[in-house]
Each structure stands twice: as structure tokens, then as C-alpha cells.
Symmetry: C2
Subunit: 223 residues, 2 copies
């Protein structure tokens, strides 16, 4: 019961059932809340654009069109005034830690009991950063390479970001153009811009960079 003067929330999750459950929980916390839904990267764009005044975004890490921290990184750097809570089925401590480091205002595991979820929503609306129990954020900062990629990626325009995600599916320029309903020349222009901003020289490297922001653990490369 935090505020009720027409609070605006956005729930982005591709699982209708869970979306509904979450919305229900939100209504319990904020009776008069207005809630907008998104079930994919595309609809998230639309909803965020249509409601730039939203108070809070509940973001799933896995939706059609995006996977991992890409969307979170992008959101945090392009809509700074919109706090984002990550809602995810993965509740690995390192994933939680990384979500917070990427700017999330909280992390709600999907496996949480409703009571807990409601407590989380309340806490976050109070401005707290809510985390599951037993989570030690630890001192270790974000992998510097990962941070660099996140920053580079948030410099992308919405279209570019979307194209990048599609590159990450192994699609051809031609296929991307068709799916987005624009000419291949446009996609090429976007890709060129993406490569420049990401500081890589070809699409494969761009895709590899995106992979580093997946929910899986970071590089653990040579050490």
C-alpha cells in the first residue's frame, strides 16, 4: 500500500500466466495501479514509448527478441528515469548480482511465493533495492569487458538494438529487412552503425559480444 494516485507500471514478460499473476500481486500492493503489458522486445518498445511516465518496469530476462542482460542494459541507459526490476526464472546468485550491477532496482525470482513478491514490490516502490534472501552482492565489480559491452550497447538506437538482437539469431541482412519491413540497404546502414558503436569489425564479433551479456556466467576466459 504505497501510493495509489494513478501509478503506472509496465510488465514485460512473455509468459501470460505469470504476467497475470504478477499484475495481480501489483494490484494488491497498489490498488489503483494502471498496468501496461509487453510480451516481446517489440511490444516493450511500444509500451515504454507510449507511457514514458511509467513508475516502474518489471522486466523478464528472456523474451522473444532478447535474452540476457541486453534489454536491461539498454533500458537503464536509455530510460534512466524508469526504474527496472528484473523478474526471472533464473535465480543464480551471479545472475542476480549482475542484474543489479547492470542497474536493476531489484530482482524477483519467479519461484518466489506471492507473499514474497508482494513484499518485494512494496519495498521497491519505497525506493529500496530488493533482493532475495541469502544474496551477498559481494565486492567484485562487473567484469570490465562486460561493462564495456553494456555501455556500447546502450549507445545504440532502438532500431539498431533490435537489429543487433536479430544478428544474434544468425539472420541474414535480407531476412532482417524482410521481418522489419524495410529495405536491405537500411539494415546494412544499421549494421555498419552497430559495428562501429560496438567497436568490432564484423557481425560475428558483434554476436559474440552480445553473448557475453547472457544470463550465463561471464567470460571466465584465460583467468
Amino acid at each position: 500500500m504505497t501510493q495509489s494516485e494513478n501509478s503506472n507500471f509496465i510488465v514485460a514478460d512473455d509468459h501470460p500466466l505469470f504476467r497475470e499473476a504478477l499484475i495481480h500481486a501489483i494490484h494488491n500492493c497498489v490498488p489503483g495501479a494502471v498496468i501496461h503489458e509487453a510480451d516481446s522486445l517489440g511490444s516493450l518498445y511500444e509500451v515504454v514509448e507510449a507511457h514514458p511516465d511509467a513508475d516502474l518496469l518489471f522486466l523478464d530476462l528472456h523474451m522473444p527478441g532478447v535474452s540476457g542482460f541486453s534489454a536491461l542494459a539498454y533500458m537503464r541507459n536509455n530510460h534512466e528515469s524508469l526504474p527496472t526490476v528484473v523478474v526471472s526464472a533464473v535465480d543464480d546468485p551471479s545472475v542476480i548480482r549482475r542484474a543489479i550491477q547492470h542497474g536493476a532496482s531489484g530482482f524477483i525470482p519467479k519461484s518466489s511465493p506471492i507473499r514474497t513478491i508482494e513484499a518485494a514490490i512494496d519495498a521497491i516502490l519505497q525506493g529500496e533495492v530488493w533482493l532475495p534472501d541469502n544474496i551477498d552482492l559481494g565486492a567484485e565489480g562487473l567484469d570490465s569487458e562486460e561493462a564495456r559491452i553494456a555501455t556500447a550497447m546502450s549507445a545504440l538506437t532502438p532500431h539498431q538494438f533490435r537489429v543487433l538482437m536479430m544478428l544474434g539469431e544468425g539472420l541474414l541482412n535480407k531476412q532482417i529487412a524482410y521481418q522489419l519491413g524495410v529495405s536491405e540497404a537500411t539494415i546494412k546502414a544499421h549494421v555498419t552503425a552497430i559495428l562501429r558503436k560496438m567497436q568490432v569489425t564484423n557481425r560475428t564479433q558483434a554476436v559474440l559480444a552480445v553473448q557475453r551479456l547472457n544470463t550465463k556466467e561471464p567470460g571466465l576466459l584465460v583467468e
Copy 2:
């Protein structure tokens, strides 16, 4: 003290210090053991070829040239008679589970005390599958997509496999050709063969497939 009639072992790890420690432990278990070392994918090929009669391979999951289960999958399907023990700094239960499912004869976390490592070596030489304590293999089989990729990958020839790993580093055909000392046309031919065997249509998709065999958790895609 299991056997000592000229046992042959291969230790593949890019960390000299740890390699030495492991060799020392092996000698403690098998006094007269002959040990061959590899510190990269390239040298692993050479050593395995030079000693096809080896009794056991200790394989690190992260070496220059390979990362994740790729090398394990390849080894298991191309040198079936050579049992392979995974030695890794990552000791996540799911990683251990997947290593076994990819055919490893055991899993030794690098963090183990020497005593434990020696016990593990002994056990494995007796033909047992050794695992760290508290590991429940569980019933869940390998992600079917992951299994498909592993199978496809083990159908690759050594050269093709190597090229695939280099694709996974975002290298150009030209760079791969230079590093392997052959013409670009050769690499292109390899790549074409790789794409066919992996059932993908371009290098980006091949790289994405390889990524699925990384130490990180499997897909957890749409669900």
C-alpha cells in the same frame, strides 16, 4: 597404487603450475606413470596422436583454442578408447552434470585438496566414475539441442574442428588461413563442410551453436 606397468597419461591444461601439481598427484598414485602434457588445443591434438595408447586424459575445460564442452565432446566421439576426466576451475553442479553427460569419466574440481584429487585419480583408474561429493547427477538428460550439437560437432574432422573453434573467436577466414598456414580457399572449404555438418547456413549460426556448449547453462530459451 593401482598399476605401474608403464601407464600413459595425458594432462591437458594451460596452467603450468596446476599441470605440475596434477602430474605430481598422478605420480603419487601411479609411480612409474609416463605423462604427456598439452597446453592448448593444438598441442592436445599432437599429443593424442603421438600417444594413441594413452590410458587416461585429464582435460581442462578452458584452454587456448577451446572453451566449454566442445573439446570433450570431440574427444569422446573421436577417441572412444581414451577415457577423459574433466578438470575444471568451475565446479557448478550443472557443469559437472553436463560434463558426465558428454561422456567424461569423472570430474575433478581444481579447488579440491590434493588428497581428494589423488583419491579421484585412484578411483578413476579403477574404472569408477568419480565426482565431487554432494553432486546429484539427477535424472534430467542432456538438453536435446545441446546433444544434437555435440553429435554434429564430433562428426567434424580435426582440422574442421579447429577451424570451428577459430570461427568462435570471431576470426576472418583470412586470419584462420594465416594462422594454420594454408590458403584462404582451404579454410572456405572447411567452413562449408562445417556448416553442412552442423546443419546451419552461415558462420554466425555455427558460432552460436558452439556457444551452447559453453560452461554456462544451456539455452533456457523460450522454455
